[in-house]
């Protein structure tokens, strides 16, 4: 478990090659918890040392959901590097998630 910050440095510029991931969750619903666990595992396995995860609880902060137009949870937004990508679901399907995040399964770019 590493750099899960609670959604503060939003507009920060990430260094090149750094992944900024924003996970929208709904309280401690089971899918949301699964998604968080899955995301941590995937990042540790494939993006060690170059990712940041922000979590947003839509129940606490619906304005954030409005801003990012998030209707279903859990939902993961790849904020950086661009282009932005949205992945819905509990992220149980690792190959799909990695492909969406443009991370090759063989590791490191």
């Amino acid at each position: 478990m590493s750099k899960a910050s609670l959604a503060k440095p939003r507009a920060r510029k990430s260094p090149p090659g750094h992944y900024l991931l924003r996970l929208f969750m709904a309280g401690n619903g089971s899918n949301s918890q699964k998604a968080l666990a899955n995301l941590h595992r995937l990042c540790q396995e494939h993006l060690e040392g170059r990712y940041t995860i922000e979590t947003v609880d839509v129940v606490q902060d619906f304005e954030a959901a409005v801003r990012d137009n998030i209707l279903v949870t859990p939902a993961l937004i790849l904020v950086a590097p661009l282009p932005r990508v949205v992945v819905l679901g509990n992220l149980s399907d690792a190959p799909t998630v990695l492909a969406a995040l443009r991370v090759s399964e063989g590791n490191h770019e």
Binding site: F62, V86, V87, S92, T96
Partner: protein
Amino acid sequence: MRGKRQPIPKVLTKIAGLDEILEGGLPRGRTTVVSGGPGSGKTVLGLEFLCRGAMAGEPGVFVTFEERAEAIRLNASAMGWDLAALEKAGKIAIIEARLPGEEIVSGDFDIQGLLAIVDGHVKRIGARQIVMDALDVLLRIYDDFKHERNELSRLHDWLTDRGLTSVLSVKTRHDDNQGSQYEFLDFMADCVIRLDHRVLGQVATRRLRVIKYRGSGFGTNEYPYVFGERGIVLFPLTTAELTHQPLGTKVSTGLKGLDLMLEGGFRRASCVLISGNSGTGKTTLASTFARAACQRGERVLYLNFEESKEAMISGMLSPGIDLRPSLDDKTLLVQTAMPESTGSDNHLNRVMETIASFKPDHLILDAVSACVRMGSKQAAFDFMMRLVSVVKEHGITSILTNQISSGVANSDEELSGIGFSSVVDAVVQLRFVETDEELIRQMLVVKSRGSAHSSRRQSYVITDRGIEFPDTPHPPPGRAGKVRRKDGGK
């Protein structure tokens, strides 16, 4: 009204005609599903419900899954509702819940995000009613039925828990035989309304039907509706609940001779059919009535589907009927229209609007036979049934002319062409009779409900002083002896 059952709490939609069909409005704190094809007016219905509520001080949330909020505002302003002002006043919140469209799916998800957003807005403005427009668009993200069903249940429970009066609209495809697609939604909802947009005889018509209403009665027919200037207008015609005024006192026909035959004239609030071949003087007779009524200071609305106002006014000058003074003093209003210019529902709406503003004592429709050109016999029938029904409810006399093509018609059915004899109270038949020397016109009162009438054919002529009877017409037979006579006997 009547037929009291255990009354369930309801919310008025304030949409013209809909609350009558729903016997008091939508179920309060419960879910209503509105489904229909593209262009059937689902969005407008939801929007109108919300706007009318908001204008009356009841805040509401509008969630749009398809159109942009700006498009919704535009839509509303076309109907005269200022959404932006209502939003500003905290009476309406619009939530643009448009899916990005290119999202990738991995594993299970749910609509908690949406519910959180909606919840935020509901709390912010204190909403008690909500419209979710084009829910089908949201449902597209589910690829399996069970998942979709679970989410719908979740949504439904969520709405019900909060006591929100909800309208969920879904688009059905044209080829869908209505119902199969969102069967679960129909099952779940307390009230289900279907909108149907179809083309009948080349004219687009819209119909609304209530499929179910848990715990409440409702009008079970298909009801035509149009988009009026101020929203949706429905025409409920519940024949089971005829609230027509009883036929009123006698009103002169404008012709002494015909008054004699009818024992004083037509009855007020009755429906009179003047039928005859071309050239027998139907318009002349109707205009005679109109002129006389206007001279007494009564108001006459003359609907002419046959010719222009100018043509009609100048045409009536030759038999000596000058309608111009009546137009000038505004006791006469002539409204003309090409029957084929629009659908019968729009014609009806236009007439209704005129009746509401002009408040006529009498209405003349010239001619029934032209109404078929509104699309179909059925369309003409609907138009007239509804028109006559409304007119009767308002205690307005209606005079309908009908041109029959050939020969002599024997029954009301044939006379009116489209069989609505039940609403016709009196029939005056005009016809030509050929003798060796000349063509003679004859007038016959075929029926006159609630009144005695002569059953003799009476010859008449049309001169530059109007319709005249060379021989004084016979009054009804047996005035002293009370001879009983069946209506429409000839």
